[in-house]
Amino acid sequence: MAVCIAVIAKENYPLYIRSVPVQNELKFHYTVHTSLDVVEEKISAVGKAMADQRELYLGLLYPTEDYKVYPSHMIIVYYTPVCMFFILIENILLYRHTRYGYVTNSKVKFVIVADSSNTSLRDNEIRSMFRKLHNSFTDVMCNPFYNPGDTIQSKAFDSMVSAMMVQAS
């Protein structure tokens, strides 16, 4: 059900962004960007709680009137002022998106924007998606030809993300 998946680095710039409906890419970038604030808030709040396995997974970021966002990655999209209005209207009527977040111990954030019109998407499924993302990201990190901080250009990572998006739609 993932419509958009993003990987954000520790310094809050995107390492990897992919969204399925390409024409709305800008909107997803925007939503992921705004969800970063919520991620930061959750991280700082979590520091006071007891250490827990589930702290890596942040869950539903916050519900908005049109889109729910799960912070995991950030996507950056460019909007043109004129058509954005129409696109937004269209999507409010047709879709409701949920955003999920996940932060690793190395402060890399994953954001998944999912289409909530398929209500069968459960917490476990989202968690397993994040786990797969984390595993693939770890593999990318251990690649000696990858410099930490570069954009991710691994084919294996791409195919894993495509599999997650296809399964959703």
Binding site: K10, V46, G47, A51, D52, Q53, E55, L56, V103, T104, N105, S106, K107, H134, N135, F137, T138, M141, C142, P144, P148
Partner: protein, 191 residues
Amino acid sequence: MADEALFQFLHNEVIQYIYKSSEHGEMENGRCITKLENMGFRVGQGLIERFTKDTARFKDELDVMKFICKDFWTCVFKKQIDNLRTNHQGIYVLQDNKFRLLTQLSAGKQYLEHAPKVRKRNGGKLTCQALFIPGQLSPHEWFSLPLSLQYLAFTCGLVRGGLSNLGVKSIVTAEVSVMPACKFQVMIQKM
């Protein structure tokens, strides 16, 4: 059990290779230790990403250091750090009484005999940090360095890389008093 020996052989060969390249004057002498340390840094970053995949979030710096001493050291060297000391102001000393990478070198004073030459010049304990400044040591001194410090550079980088990926900027130095015991000193840098 065999995989430990593999890394030890590789590690020794890497040091020999860098040592030999410096003999031919291909690079400045202070750079050899820096090269080893930077190699360790990148490896440390990747290793930490893999080891912290399923662990809970870290509460504070001390938690991070404890993780390094227990889980990280166990995964890499199959044993824990024997002693962790701190002054609670950003300096940690990790003591390993039987450092895996040094056990194959002969225990005792054989290699430490070369140390006095360099110690007199620096007027104190010789640490890896002094060697990071290029040009500090003449070629003669580099070759007469206690070999044990060359063997610790990679591990210093390993610790620094792991800490950096967890968000802790640091400087890691090492010292050897009696082989195979060694101490790693971590100085946390406040941003």
